[in-house]
Subunit: 463 residues, 2 copies
């Protein structure tokens, strides 16, 4: 397990594997102190906090801290946090491997990732066991290029139930995440004559890059306002948008805009690509259903396990207009790729057994609490934008105060990753200033210290 | 588990899952008899044979056979094989679901697959458990597009040790099998100006189709003789070949041809794509090392777990000339795909723990025995071609006898899949006649009956 916490303006990563026990934990902390990833004076997490995050007994952590104090690595004092000692000049290190370290910028609050330390390792292992015990031999043969029937059926039920998607298994195609879906769709749309794809402005630049690289299409930016995408400004044969929770502004697509969009698509024959990247995470009330249900023959819905489970799995799914199923299948074939059979079977088992829903519910509670803590703690001059949902929040900066570049630079100096709103803009020109905070990114024990570092950054820039 | 055996000229598939026990096995056999997948008079496998293949106690199978005999589904008689009874007219079936079935063509001896019933389920599960217990949290984040360092390091060691590949992890890229590698390389070569790729004639048509679909390159066919590819006839900027065990003729690339090929590539700047699809399986002596070692800057080596473990995993690897690493990485990026992190970690664990080698050794013994049985059993007028290696053998047909189409048609009538040599030819024109027999394809218990069906087919066509 890579642990990270930030303290005194530093993010610190600690490599520790559960099977190495207390001994391994002690050595990992020693190494971090020797390498100055943990610098003198740094406050260690409390024994209770660290034990909880690691899933080990508090007594183990207490013993490790005591040992390290005896060895001169840590300093404990009644009623205060355990801190890192200065090893110089009299530290009892037999082979000191000291080097002056640049503060490494860790992910911190960089948006785009769930807390991967929440990955349900036990559930995944159990589901793998059940699949390997029960699966027919045919599972191990060449997989269907559209994805396994078992997973497509499980997804159809799940998406209908949780997102209101009109999803019969025949129009589902399994892919390797949204980027992969974007590349496939861009190629299919290009083959059907589309030379331009519209994206929301602002939106994630990576997906625009994938569309360009995959199919050499032009990118058109269409502005987003308080009601989501300005549908009236659309003039492209295809558009990619995030209707449940616009990335990065956090607004949902308003009901009349939804109607307007599907009417526009039906009238012009345009294709709508619905990026439902975090539709599972709405905190204030039941999430509005997917846009796809309004016009299943004009909307290509894309979902992913990257935010609900882990980006490392590389599993996503398309629910396609019937006319696109065969072209997407052919596009997949042309890449020589097919979805891996075993991971598909395990995900299907996880969904069918209810474990997927339970995991999402657990994460939803954690992310909701983090969002509330963050919004309670930030100073008044930062204005949170959008609905209570998802894994990140846009904090708007006042026109008269420090700009986003100043905030990001100060954060970087403290080793804290955050994202600037400006990076999401399409084209040049002025844009509002803001910071996109990925509160889901840190491990649970690191959230508090990461938040504190962020608050320190804000205090610094507003001085 | 899908079971298949063939008997009396029929291939029969039986769906049974280990967790359903004796009861499920009985019901699976009942269903097969009711649906006439098992027809009256069909000899069932012996209890010993079936028990061994299923990995259950022989007593369980004996009990199931006894129950089904009592129910009127099977007929047992002292000293003879247990056979399927005719359910008409007096069979005690409460709800008969009878339908006259067309003989379904099952994979039988169709080449291109290992015996997927040998997939090491227990080893894979144990490796998954170890990975999930020990892996750092970072495993679940966005994976490196070139593949995980852990897997690339494990592969570098494995490929150097077993195939003599000059494989430092920095030139390894993980992909989703040979088709995926072919599509990526075709696109990279096309971007570098190659408008044509040469393939061996004969060779597998699927890969030529992938190259065409992925990059719109022309395909040139270059003949194969007793010494492998006729290097002197090469006149393309790139060539794809199978030097360890030419597919489908089974000859290895002769030593002087290897030298000639790498000299040609160095002189002309052409790129050689080495498809090492079954280099792990040589039966007579130590396999000759990979071509790549002779010219690592001119040979892109491609290996895969499709034959050693299972095609369903969709994991392969490229060992690239240094100049191609960055272009291939960029080509992967343009497809929005990245290799799934968990399967990579499990494969790396399997390799590092020695389980991968052990599994390959086991399979090698099984396939060697099958090849010997096949070659001992076939009539003299069929001439086996190539070296003692791999998962399939080409059987040449005499010019005066029945042609490959006649053999394939007779096989199809008995529900047996085999492959014609002609399908591998590039372009029109006459070609030698032959049958490609994938002896690795059936499950172990089905091999004997499948072989018998094949012999019946040969007897029929030679009458």
């Amino acid at each position: 397990m890579t642990l990270s916490w930030s303290s005194s303006g530093w993010d610190v990563h600690l490599d520790w594997r559960p099977d190495t026990g207390a001994r391994g934990l002690a050595e990992a902390i020693r190494a971090a102190i020797r390498d100055r990833r943990l610098t003198p004076g740094t406050a260690m997490p409390s024994t209770r906090e660290l034990a909880k995050d690691l899933g080990i007994a508090r007594g183990t952590v207490t013993r490790v801290y005591a040992d390290l104090s005896a060895e001169g690595y840590l300093h404990t004092s009644q009623g205060a946090a355990t801190k890192v000692r200065d090893l110089h000049p009299a530290a009892p290190v037999s082979a000191p491997r000291l080097r002056a370290a640049e503060p490494a910028v860790h992910r911190g609050f960089a948006p785009g990732s769930p807390d991967v330390s929440l990955f349900p390792r036990d559930r995944w292992l159990s589901a793998t066991r059940r699949v390997l015990q029960r699966a027919p031999t045919a599972l191990f043969g060449y997989p269907d290029e559209r994805g396994s029937v078992t997973l497509r059926e499980a997804l159809a039920g799940y998406l209908a139930r949780t997102r209101g998607v009109l999803a019969d298994p025949e129009r589902i195609v399994v892919c390797a995440g949204f980027s992969h879906a974007m590349a496939l769709l861009a190629r299919v749309l290009r083959d059907r004559g589309a030379e331009e794809i519209a994206f929301e402005c602002p939106s994630l630049p990576q997906f625009r890059a994938v569309a360009k690289a995959a199919a050499e299409v032009r990118i058109a930016g269409v502005p987003v306002d308080e009601h989501g995408l300005r549908v009236s400004e659309l003039d492209s044969p295809a558009v990619v948008l995030t209707p449940a929770h616009q990335y990065p502004t956090g607004v949902p697509l308003a009901p009349d805009r939804r109607t307007e969009l599907t009417r526009w698509a039906t009238r012009t024959g345009a294709m709508v690509i619905e990026d439902d990247y975090d539709g599972e995470f709405r905190f204030d009330r039941q999430q509005v259903g997917a846009l796809q249900a309004l016009a299943p023959e004009r909307v290509a819905y894309v979902g992913t396990a990257s935010k609900t489970l882990a980006p490392g799995l590389r599993i996503g799914w398309l629910v396609l207009p019937r006319t696109l199923v065969e072209p997407v299948r052919a596009a997949i074939n042309a890449t020589g790729w097919r979805p891996p059979a075993l991971e598909q079977a395990v995900l299907a088992e996880l969904i069918s057994s209810g474990g997927y829903d339970q995991h999402i519910r657990r994460c939803r509670g954690i992310y909701r609490a983090r969002r509330e803590k963050l919004l309670d703690a930030i100073p008044d001059w930062l204005v949170p934008h959008g609905i209570a949902a998802g894994l990140q929040v846009l904090l708007r900066l006042p026109e008269s105060g420090p700009g986003e570049a100043a905030v990001a630079a100060a954060a970087r100096r403290r080793g804290l990753g955050v994202e600037m709103l400006g990076r999401h803009w399409i084209g040049e020109g002025p844009h509002p200033q803001g910071i996109v905070v990925g509160y889901a990114t840190p491990a649970e024990h690191a959230f508090g210290p990461t938040l504190q570092t962020f608050l320190d950054v804000l205090a610094e820039v507003s001085r």
